[in-house]
């Protein structure tokens, strides 16, 4: 168990603001397909800072960590399976194609 001092809180704020600035700056660059991974990666690090320090999970009991991780486990489960399923399917039938409309498959860039 680590005691959270006001110094650590201040440092965490600094780190969060720096990460926000990096995320903002990087968003103007073309990372060739990795934009999303980088943005979400930075967001995950920021969220970890908030949860561990501001939300005092560093000082928390195992039961609280367990509650959080059981949620994260189901998040991973849902996102993974929906992702795999979506990637393996065609466009959903939002609206039946009418005459003169390009078939949906050709719209995929």
């Amino acid at each position: 168990m680590i005691a959270i001092s006001s110094k650590l809180q201040m440092g965490t704020l600094g780190a969060l603001l720096v990460l926000t600035a990096i995320s903002y700056g990087v968003s103007f660059l073309d990372l060739g397909g990795f934009d999303m991974s980088v943005a979400i990666g930075i967001a995950a690090v920021k969220a970890a800072f908030v949860i561990l320090v501001f939300m005092h999970l560093l000082e928390g009991k195992t039961s609280m960590v367990l509650a959080l991780f059981s949620a994260l486990f189901f998040v991973a489960l849902l996102v993974t399976f929906v992702g795999v399923d979506t990637a393996a399917r065609d466009l959903p039938p939002l609206r039946p194609p009418t005459e003169g409309v390009i078939p949906p498959r050709d719209l995929r860039p």
């Binding site: 968003s27 103007f28 967001a43 609280m64 949620a71 189901f74 998040v75 992702g83 990637a87």
Partner: protein, 222 residues
Amino acid sequence: MRELAVAEHFSTAEQQGDAARLGMWIFLASEILLFTGMFTLYAGGRAHYPGAFAVGIDHNLRWLGSLNTVILIVSSYLVARGVHEMRSRRSAATARFLLGTMALGLAFLVLKAVEYGVHMGEGAVPGGGTAFYLEHSPGKTAWAVDALPFFFGLYYLMTGAHALHVIVGLGVLGWLFFEVRRVSPSPLLEVRVELGALYWHLVDVIWIFLWPLFYLTGGGTA
């Protein structure tokens, strides 16, 4: 000053506090799952309509969303400091930090309302059907024109659900603001402030993920 008493089904204040904290974490876990449903919808939508999502994200006001990110992060820090002060039994300082947090939360909502106003003015309304969608859709076929309203529908759904949480959080913090001034400092009061702060942090964490999804990852340099 009112005193908080340990509930009769707990033997000590510490035990009651731990039970309350665990209960709060379980509630927060359920909140995460609520938003996960929407994040999953976003992932599926984006996989199918990358073009419409890129147009929509580039259309959003990046500076405004980013300013709101900074506002929420600083507010999260302030409420964490409030908890810190409460643990040192400084009620007045706690109240000041709570007030600062609420001021920033209110600023967030005002900026969000300004942004909604801009979108509505342009015709990017929920549900589609306006000239805006015809003009900005990456493809002009019926299929493609449906994709941009889908993006903005998600935008309103997710940022709206988040804004609702901000409003609830403001209510909780407002209640705590009065509570710390009329209840004498005790471990049980600390727990109350802590739980309110936890909720506010969750609101911050969710925005940390909404920000890149709706403002940063359009791919354009607009």
